[in-house]
Amino acid sequence: MTPIVVIVLAAAVAAAIAVSASRYRRSRDGVDSFRRQIDALSPEARRPVVDQVQSAAEANDASSAADEEDDDDGT
């Protein structure tokens, strides 16, 4: 009888530990993903996208200005 009780108790304790560990991990995951999200939204993280588009726009402006100059020369 006693060994069965011990096994059941051990299984119950192991299950309780597993449940609390997974809950803790889930809550840590939530915190970590929120931190990652906030870090990814920081101005420093956003800078490359803005710079990339601005440099493309400047390149476009420069090429269209050069085209206009060519047109002016031609007329």
């Binding site: 929120f34 999200q37 906030i38 870090d39 101005p43 493309a56």
Partner: protein, 334 residues
Amino acid sequence: MARDLAIDLGTANTLVYMKGRGIVLNEPSVIALNRQTGEVLATGREAWQMIGRTPGYIVAVRPLRGGAITDFEITERMIRLLLQRVGVSRFTRPKVVICVPSAITEVERRAVTDAARRAGAADANLIEQPMAAAIGADLPIDEPVGNMVIDIGGGTSETAVISLGGIVALEAVRVGSFDIDAAIQNYVRREHGIAIGERTAEEIKIAIGSADPTPQESQAEVRGRDLMTGLPKTVVLTPEEIRYAIEDVVSSIVASVIRCLAKAPPELSQDFLVRGMYLVGGGGLLRGLAQRIERETKVPVRMSNVPLEAVVLGAGHVIEHYDALKGMFMGARR
């Protein structure tokens, strides 16, 4: 390997951002079809030039109205052609993030994601336009302060309060710059008895349209078809007339901004007085609109540096940091 894409599928224009490359496509959301065969004749700028100028068997349509898909099949074909133009093929299926109005229904959401998947996307996720606009307009949305963004598009106007990477308050109306064009068309028809097309109405709006009196106003000469005689006719329109014509639409946009301000928590409201509200979207370029909103709300209004591209830039940033920001997709926060 396919480069992931961010798409601003707007009522007026569609912009595509490619991961690592930037904005690779910016065209009107228009498709021209042969009515008899169903064949696509043109998309984007080429199709836009056909609006109102096609023979009977060709139809140039905007498959999105009020930010929602009005014709699923045509939208799917338009997305497929856009994806093909940026290099997506049967063998390169990218992940796609699509910006949509925050007020779209579950059915409309499903329609957009299905259209993108069927058009060649490996995975399609949606993000609210005001959130993408706030990211793209470089607002400090990672901080615990109130950031207010007003996005006035072709078919919708949305105002959102954003703090710590999330939407705190939101107000959306299915009214946008196309409604301003329609109001001008109706006014000219009613008061001057001439019919004008939607492109002419847009040109009038750009030339002399304003939401509030502005310095150096001028008149515009408009040509249309006389409704009584059927002959071409010219009339002169004044800025006051246009302001009167578009008053209902402008009032409805301003009222939605005021409702959003009223929904914002008081702690964030005080931030707006210092930081102001940011105006993005093509509709925000209407002369005097920022001034009108500022006058009615007593809150400073600032124009974004990139009003037309802010939304796709924001979605582009999300695609660049896909794993970290996938929690921001619509449906992911439930």
